[in-house]
């Protein structure tokens, strides 16, 4: 579903690559989290999957990028819309400004794709329920909280039913309540298997709960790739500028003090931590 082969990318005028020799295959329906410190290349990877690298940011891209059966560098943004959905950090900037209610804002993408009215109405209603926005459907998109706006941004992309959805740190500008609301939607999305999801995220405790797979990016390279339990509990995490979850940290401290020193599978979620300390 997503196939990257030896992808190296330089932003215009950059001397170091933002992505270096990235080779990656993500099968259909997988929920793949991408973690890494600031500047590790998470956003660039997201933009590459959605085609904004190279079609929007220009720069120099080499290697092969294939997403949902489309050769991304050879395609165009207009053609990619509907194949790949992108959600990014700032909720306010994802609101088009051309629509006056939440319902119409969600429909904007379908209008541009020329979806017939009755199908459009059904799909918008469906998504309003999925994203928990039904009570806000008639409100102005600008009169929502950050968490609500971000759920609106996700709904606006989901309603177009792209086979691949890319989210670039969707909760980094939200307060804890807003983040929780957005993660609840993402967890439901992970449960449906309707789309392949790539989520760049710093909040590892959430990643641990619902990702099928975790990739670690460091200086534009993939340095770890595996199941959340293995990658997130690995001792290498700190050398990539990442802080393990508090569950892993507590367990490691307990091990250093001699508690369960024989255990190698350190917990990454609350449930695992409870089991570890029982």
């Amino acid at each position: 579903m997503i196939r990257l082969r030896d992808v190296t990318y330089f932003y215009p005028r950059a001397t170091t690559p933002a992505l270096a020799d990235v080779t990656l295959e993500i099968p259909a329906g997988q929920f793949c989290a991408v973690i890494g410190a600031n500047g590790a290349g998470k956003s660039t990877l997201c933009y590459t999957l959605a085609g904004f690298v190279p079609h929007f940011y220009r720069g120099k891209l080499s290697g092969g990028v294939e997403v949902a059966g489309v050769d991304v560098p050879a395609s165009s943004l207009a053609k990619l819309a509907g194949h790949v959905g992108l959600v990014f950090a700032n909720p306010f900037n994802q609101i088009t400004g051309a629509r006056f209610s939440v319902r119409e804002e969600i429909a904007f993408g379908l209008e541009n794709m020329g979806v017939p009215l009755d199908e459009m109405e059904a799909r918008v209603e469906d998504i309003l329920g999925f994203a928990g926005l039904r009570d806000l459907a008639e409100r102005s998109p600008f009169a929502l909280s950050g968490g609500q706006q971000q759920r609106l941004a996700i709904a606006s992309v989901l309603v177009m039913r792209p086979p691949v959805i890319v989210l670039d740190e969707p909760t980094s500008q939200l307060d804890p309540i807003g983040s929780k609301e957005v993660f609840a939607v993402l967890r439901d999305l992970a449960a449906t298997d309707a789309a392949t999801v790539v989520l760049a995220e710093q909040k590892l405790e959430w990643v641990a709960v619902f990702a099928d797979r975790v990739l670690v990016l460091h200086e534009g390279r993939i340095v770890a790739d595996g199941l959340p339990g293995d990658v997130l509990a690995s001792a290498d995490l700190t050398q990539y500028g990442l802080q393990p979850t508090r569950y892993t940290q507590v367990a490691r401290a307990a091990q250093a003090a001699g508690f369960r020193a024989d255990r190698h599978d350190l917990p990454v979620t609350l449930e695992e931590a409870v089991e570890f300390f029982r």
């Binding site: 943004l77 990014f88 088009t96």
Partner: protein, 265 residues
């Protein structure tokens, strides 16, 4: 805080239910009448007999009259003062100390004020009773460029946000000791630390919004559909043509009045 610059007042009225192009034609008709009708008083009849009844039909009469009054009053007063008192030559009808009220000036002022009131009130009527997105949709369906329709709609909603952001930056700079009150020089100097973060921030915002629009297939070629459905009727189509003919007739009549004396001579 208001979320939009739109003056639209939602109501369940016949006027509101008219197709946006019908309302646009009505307003254009009033505009043409206001600008081209000869004489001093006819434009006031347009206001009283067409625009005001339409506003009443739409159920927005009180806010409409308030807005029309507030917009027109300063201009009307200054036109009467300047033209009435300072008309060169003319027939004085009232002496006020060293000044005198001239009959020709007064007539000119009454005529200009009537035109101004008609123009302002017809635009207000359109904006009070027409959803901006409905109007833009109607225009786009007739071949008006989508990108320009987008800019007009987005401006209405994003400029108030822009103002809010400017205020936040101003407060932030003030809390760091920036002087924003005082003489002109102080105020000008205070603009710099405001403009720079606002502009840089806005460039980032625009870039991200451009990306968001591409994701939503805004750049896609081909036919678009719309969740908003505009209702049109054969009667309204006929009315629009009649209004167009009416406009041409008024303009033609006015041209004839202007040319006729010269033809006779």
């Amino acid at each position: 805080m208001s979320t939009s610059f739109s003056l639209y007042i939602p109501r369940e009225s016949g006027m509101h239910r008219l197709h946006p192009l019908t309302k646009l034609a009505l307003v254009a008709f009033c505009l043409v009448l206001g600008l081209f009708l000869p004489g001093v008083w006819l434009t006031y009849l347009v206001f009283l007999l067409i625009i005001v009844p339409l506003a009443a039909w739409a159920g927005v009469l009180p806010p409409f009259l308030r807005a029309a009054f507030k917009t027109a009053l300063p201009v009307v007063i200054s036109v009467f003062l300047v033209q009435g008192l300072f008309w060169p030559g003319g027939t004085p009808i009232l002496h006020l100390g060293p000044l005198s009220l001239k009959q020709e000036g007064l007539q000119f002022a009454i005529r200009s004020a009537g035109r101004f009131i008609t123009v302002v009130s017809s635009f207000l009527l359109l904006t009070f009773t027409t959803r901006p997105d409905g109007l833009m949709l109607a225009l786009s369906q007739r071949g008006f460029p989508n990108s320009i329709a987008y800019i007009m709609l987005a401006t209405m909603q994003i400029v108030p946000r822009f103002q809010a952001k400017a205020n936040t930056i101003l407060d932030a700079q003030r809390s760091r000791g920036l002087e924003t009150e005082g003489n002109l020089l102080v105020r000008l100097r205070a603009l710099l630390p405001l403009v720079q973060p606002l502009l840089l921030g806005s460039i980032v915002d625009i870039e991200e919004r451009a990306i968001a629009l591409e994701v939503r297939a805004f750049g896609r070629q081909g036919p678009k559909t719309s969740l908003l459905v505009l209702r049109d009727t054969p009667a309204q189509r006929v009315l629009r043509w009649l209004l167009l003919l009416g406009m041409l007739a008024v303009i033609g009549w006015r041209l004839y009045l202007a040319i006729a004396p010269r033809l006779a001579a």
